[in-house]
Symmetry: C3
Subunit: 462 residues, 3 copies
């Protein structure tokens, strides 16, 4: 029953062990607690200067971190369980590559975000950023879902995390772009990277597994667990690393209203585009989330509640139209086989979010932001740049992100195409039993009843 080329017995353990040992060595050499985490540093200075315990960054950010963490592991993991025979892999490979990526991201981001005397300092904010970077990898995973081995996925993560950190460094540190919720750095990057990877890994004979590339009743309910956790906690996602106080508060609220409006337009469009008016679970599971993606850049800005709602409303419409009309074209014309439709959930809404962010930034003024301008646009507040210049930088950042994502995906796609990673054959795609021990079928409850009855008679006879 096992194909030697897809047998993971040596490939997967060796890959995991080597990667983890490299991580341990690099952490040992490079990584230290930051001052809010370290027992000694936290208590430096005299007492009147010292921060009180409640002002430790932990209390500002840890609840948001945990929400983001749930999105990464349960949200992404269960969203992808919609496939009838790929639930173990969806949630299990999601778990594996996320656990790897967050460690690797700590190093890559720490390296680019600036060393402190040769050391990377970590705390709750770096944990959130590592989870964010992981999210980008999981978005790309959605495009290749069902068609890749866990070893391929781990190698994809190695490269994607690195490129993510490069792109993020260019945007946030070099260009001074604002992108707290990651419309560009996370969603646009992850989506176009993944789409390019899946383009390079194009399988002309994928229809051999077509009958498994669909959901069943209960798998759609499992997927809704993922959807709802992503939806509910997206306000925490977008606000997790904004400045303390009103920006965090405002971002969460903008995202909340964007998502609510997006949900209504998603339901409307799903029904409208079906010939019999019936709602499609694919749309509900995915497009209803586009409002969170689209509020990723402008969420921390003075987008206003109504602005957020308009953004979410449009995102839902675009996303459903994408699922309905664009995805089939991408597959047939551009040979992009996008299992989860990440172009519709992360790609287009991410671009929309970047554009909204650029426009909103270009309209920033001290009149609207008051002294709060410092927290959202420090370069504009210090008069180093004008608001319209900031808007231009935001727009350029989108182009940079698209460029790095597409070129990176191209290169990584060719690496992953090497026949050494144990990728499934065309007729084994979307199938757990290739990489997992899968239990047998459930005995029917009627048999169960019979069992109990038999036991009863056993007892009577004894």
């Amino acid at each position: 029953m096992t194909d030697p080329s897809t047998n993971m017995r040596l490939k997967l353990p060796i890959t995991c062990f080597i990667l983890q040992i490299i991580l341990i060595i690099l952490f040992g050499v490079l990584v230290q607690y930051d001052e809010d985490t370290d027992a000694k540093k936290h208590h430096h200075g005299n007492h009147s200067e010292a921060k009180s315990d409640i002002e430790n960054d932990f209390y500002y950010r840890y609840p948001s971190f945990q929400d983001v963490h749930v999105m990464i592991f349960v949200g992404f993991g269960f969203l992808m369980t919609f496939l009838q025979r790929y639930g173990f892999s969806s949630v299990g490979f999601n778990f594996l590559i996320a656990a790897f990526s967050l460690q690797w991201a700590t190093l890559m981001q720490g390296f680019f975000h600036g060393l402190h005397e040769g050391k990377i300092h970590i705390g709750v904010e770096s944990m959130i950023n590592a989870d964010f970077c992981t999210g980008s990898v999981l978005i790309s995973f959605g495009a290749v879902l069902g068609k890749t081995s866990p070893v391929q996925l781990l190698f994809m993560a190695v490269f994607e995390v690195t490129l993510f950190a490069v792109n993020e460094f260019i945007l946030l540190s070099l260009l001074g772009t604002r992108d707290a919720g990651g419309s560009m750095t996370i969603h646009t990057f992850g989506a176009y990277f993944g789409l390019m990877v899946t383009r390079i890994l194009y399988r002309p004979n994928l229809d051999k597994s077509k009958h498994k590339n669909c959901s069943v009743y209960h798998s759609d309910l499992f997927a809704m667990i993922g959807t709802l956790y992503l939806w509910m906690f997206w306000p925490s996602f977008n606000s997790a690393v904004t400045e303390h106080g009103d920006p965090q508060h405002r971002t969460a609220m903008n995202t909340y209203y964007s998502l609510a409006a997006c949900t209504l337009s998603t339901y409307a469009m799903s029904s409208l585009t079906a010939h019999d008016g019936k709602l499609d679970m694919v749309h509900i599971q995915n497009a209803a989330l586009a409002g969170g993606v689209a509020a990723g850049t402008a969420g921390e800005m003075m987008l206003t509640p109504v602005g957020s709602m308009i953004v979410g409303f449009l995102a839902g419409i675009i996303s459903v139209l994408g699922f309905k009309y664009l995805t089939p074209i991408l597959e047939s014309k551009l040979k992009i086989q996008d299992t989860c439709g990440i172009h519709n959930l992360h790609g287009m809404p991410g671009v929309l979010g970047a554009i909204v962010g650029a426009v909103t930034a270009s309209l920033a003024s001290r009149e609207v932001y008051g002294e709060g301008l410092e927290k959202v646009f420090p370069d504009v507040a210090s008069k180093e740049r004008t608001a319209s210049y900031q808007g231009g930088v935001q727009a350029i950042s989108l182009a940079v992100t698209l460029g790095i994502a597409l070129i990176g995906g191209l290169l990584v796609g060719f690496i992953l195409k090497l026949p050494i990673f144990g990728a499934p054959r065309d007729n084994d795609c979307f199938e757990d039993s290739l990489y997992w021990e899968v239990p047998g079928e459930e005995e029917s409850h009627e048999n169960q009843m019979t069992d109990v009855k038999t036991e009863e008679s056993d007892k009577l006879n004894s």
Copy 2:
């Protein structure tokens, strides 16, 4: 396969689009960030007067908000997935009407809670209140579950949110009632409103769908996800909008002990009322939550831990008895078809909670509350009213709530009965496939094994 009268292709999109566009217009005209959310307002005044960032209301309330949010979308949504063929609708319509209701509630509650120079100011507290109002709509949804179209549900939400806001205004603003966790405003109101609606929508021939109005093994497990999230986060629900500090702390703890005691009495009663002592999932899924409902009013008061436990203990008993003996009578004698048994989970425990609140309030004294009296009973602390007067007001509030809920439900029920909303026919109730694309049956894993084997032989032969 599709009935023109229940085809949603025009009805649902038009309803969603019109409602969302109205919301966007009204938000544009009326809604502004509050001072903890706005970039400018947050930084007014000189620095010594300004709140420190950690005192932004966000940090007091956002973790509770997210817990409430999970209760609304996952808690209510999955609790109703117990029906074997109605999981998509349970979780999906819950999602839709909640996303609408929280926007509409922001406006209605903002309007009644007081405008600021013609504007509604919003922040994390208003988000929690909007979720609370949404909870009330979802309670009513439980009564009509399986028997209504999504368009009917949206219209129900439009009216119910409005009436909720009126009732809440009368209680909290006019009468000075205390009801932080909403035993009256949320649970009693939502339950009796929903019961009246389902009474008006009475279907004499509902037994045509009777075979679908029950659970299967896995649907009961999905429902337990809903139950547990409601149970675990109820302490956050009841404490989410109490005053900062000890009231929030105390409310969470009272609710925790009330629920724990309720769980034991629920298991005891479920086993006791079964002829063979077997536990009934319906009771566990619902009655174990009654302790949270019953602690909704008095939770913030000096109810004491033991008082909370007694309240929860009684709530569990009442609730199981209701499921076992009262629900069948309500259906056969009063023609109230209550799908989820909301009378047992929200109705009676809500009334119990109101009564407990009235009694506890009437016993309030400065001796027990000290300076904390100001936070819980400001009118008693300022000697505007006596504690027993406050108790009387609480009792009157229950009567007002029941009146508005029943009359409101009556009117709204008749509106929803109009044959234009696409309600299902009697033999299509409790059936997802009427409004959803439903995937086919899962291929058995035995077939799957065969597939793999066939593929193996394919390979060997090639």
Copy 3:
């Protein structure tokens, strides 16, 4: 269909009612709000001395409390739903015994942690500690899962909570042991107690139920919900009762990296130890969590991120090896039937965590901890004891814990063996229908389609 000896109609209600009434009486006599929860006490003293609201312990600990709460009810509950026919009991009995244990633990721990003028003072920290103690009972539940009646489980909880509190008192109060995340007090204690209980309850003919002691496809996915919530929230678990500020921050982060490294070694070992390289869901569901257990004692110490990763890495390896090679030996040679493999998830990793804690403690110095030494090792900071003495105390604490757990499990096992608790017969184990009303089989969706078609023709004919 019902066996009189396992009929719960009188046994379960009587047990629940008596236990709950005893709890109510004892709470009435003994339990009071603490000063952060009480309306009066919170506002004592003059205003300049009073804590500000944000410094109420609630805001430091409540988010962690809720995460722990989710681990107890959803984490443990769903982790155990992997059995094909035991989902109701896994999640339902977990719910029942947890709701009881947290009340009983409040009393037992309050009694040992020190009375205040004869009263137990409670607040969010005591709620977390009660949940912790409950966790220990649920660990033991994992060993006897499928083989015990709910009445047996309640009695096990009565005794185990008591012994837990005794052991915790000896360690934390008498010996001055540090064990914030409970590698010893919670995991080692719960595991070895449970293993001894299941040893005493040994069933030589358990293979009569062997065909039910395994998973099915969807039950493994439900179990992954439990796994992921335990994994995600373990940082909150270990940090929930550490000192405010940097210790809480550091503990969460250490646990995060320990778990991530553990996940990679778990996947590696699971694949490596399978003859065909296929991953085993049992390992993923359980061993990936061992990193949280193993960081339970040293997590609050200056373990360093790399130290945490090494600990997690080893924990995952040990845990998978245990599942693969040790569990079968324990069953065949030592007659320990450990349904969930708690020895591999909680037993060995708990001992590892205790040893890591002892070593890390013995290396503590003011050079590394600075003034923070006071928060982690108060006795070392005050020079009452040296670091190596503290390390010795930690090691002794492990021995004490093992001793109390094993002797306690022995005694309690014999009590539970009395034939009065309604334990299932050997061929009824791992079977919900013994104690639950179990719904019938789902109608196939093909039938459903037929139904709809029939209805259509009904309508056309009418």
